[in-house]
Subunit: 205 residues, 2 copies
Amino acid sequence: MTSPGIRPVSGAPIATPYWTTTIPVTSEGETSTAEKSKEFGTPCSKCNVTITSDDWVRKAHDNCYHLNCFSCSVCNRQLSTGEQFALHDNSLHCKIHYLQVLQGNKLGDERLGKRKAKRQRTAFTEEQVHVFQSYFNVEQNPDPQDLDTIADQAGVTRRVAQVWFQNARSRSKRNMQMNTVSPVPKECSSSEHSFDSLDDLTYSD
Amino acid sequence: MTSPGIRPVSGAPIATPYWTTTIPVTSEGETSTAEKSKEFGTPCSKCNVTITSDDWVRKAHDNCYHLNCFSCSVCNRQLSTGEQFALHDNSLHCKIHYLQVLQGNKLGDERLGKRKAKRQRTAFTEEQVHVFQSYFNVEQNPDPQDLDTIADQAGVTRRVAQVWFQNARSRSKRNMQMNTVSPVPKECSSSEHSFDSLDDLTYSD
DNA sequence: ACCTAATAAGGAGTAATAAT
DNA sequence: ATTATTACTCCTTATTAGGT
């Protein structure tokens, strides 16, 4: 199988990145299916979701990614086996967009095939939400240090945890207002509707 | 295999497009089935859905398409191997409609055979339905993760599994209503009907 | 004609971003 | 930091269309 070695880019003016071809983790030289589970337990360097034993992954430097997360941070195109990429600012770049970065050239994205640059939305597991929520119940505005602890425990970056708390405070405030301010300006038309939401968090397990 | 080379159109007045014959990616020179997965991971240039290793694809310039997505953007007709097409404004055109574009002629679509973009319908095997159904009996609304498991087990994409469950919920609800709501709009003729609702959900198996 | 897979339109919830 | 906004992902419901 046509396989690629590691190939440093010659004369790259920026420190961190280097060219190399993408190779599946599992073929760190050789094997195929068997090694799938090798990296399970670590969080994906892109989405931060824990990698499970069923996931296929790719690695770059010390980073480890879900197969689907191994994509150019500019055009979001997923990179395939054998393809050249670079790691710059800890973000993956396809060859085209890394060259662009090197040139300080932001133009011509359209021609170069930039696609929507889809914003990526983290999907929290129940457990993660539970971690957040239980801290939140104690302290809605954790200091940076605690935030780190929480982030760590949930297996996400501090930034992601921070955003969760921001949104949670916002949500909480909004709900409070909705419950305080009469939600029914006109008349309490139907007494049947109960707004029972918001504590159905615990699911069976 | 009458096979086609790449043939630039002579003197095309518009920049990007050129004529070429469609060829399957997989025959980038040689192999057939084995290379199916070669482009997996990139998004389809038509539908933007990630191409998986099971998909067949076609390429034009740097674009890569699902086989079904490789169709004229005007008449939606899927283009076949050996057929001429052009890429204009990053959209695929069959020969007829590209010539039309060149003439600035937008009229006469109907005559020229604009077709409806045939939708493709999956035919499930009994076994697949069985997989779906047995999960459904336990949980009508599986979370995304379970959905993936199910899809995987049934050998379909997650989207297809999702649609099945959506339709199944819909179906189930409809049937429930038909059984619950008096099927006799006029009069509650018979007092014999006992409304023992809500447990006729289990299907034989 | 049925049955039903696929699409489409509209809503809810909320993670991420922008604005302040 | 907060607030407002955007946009992603999921749902439901109704409709369209493929295949016996």
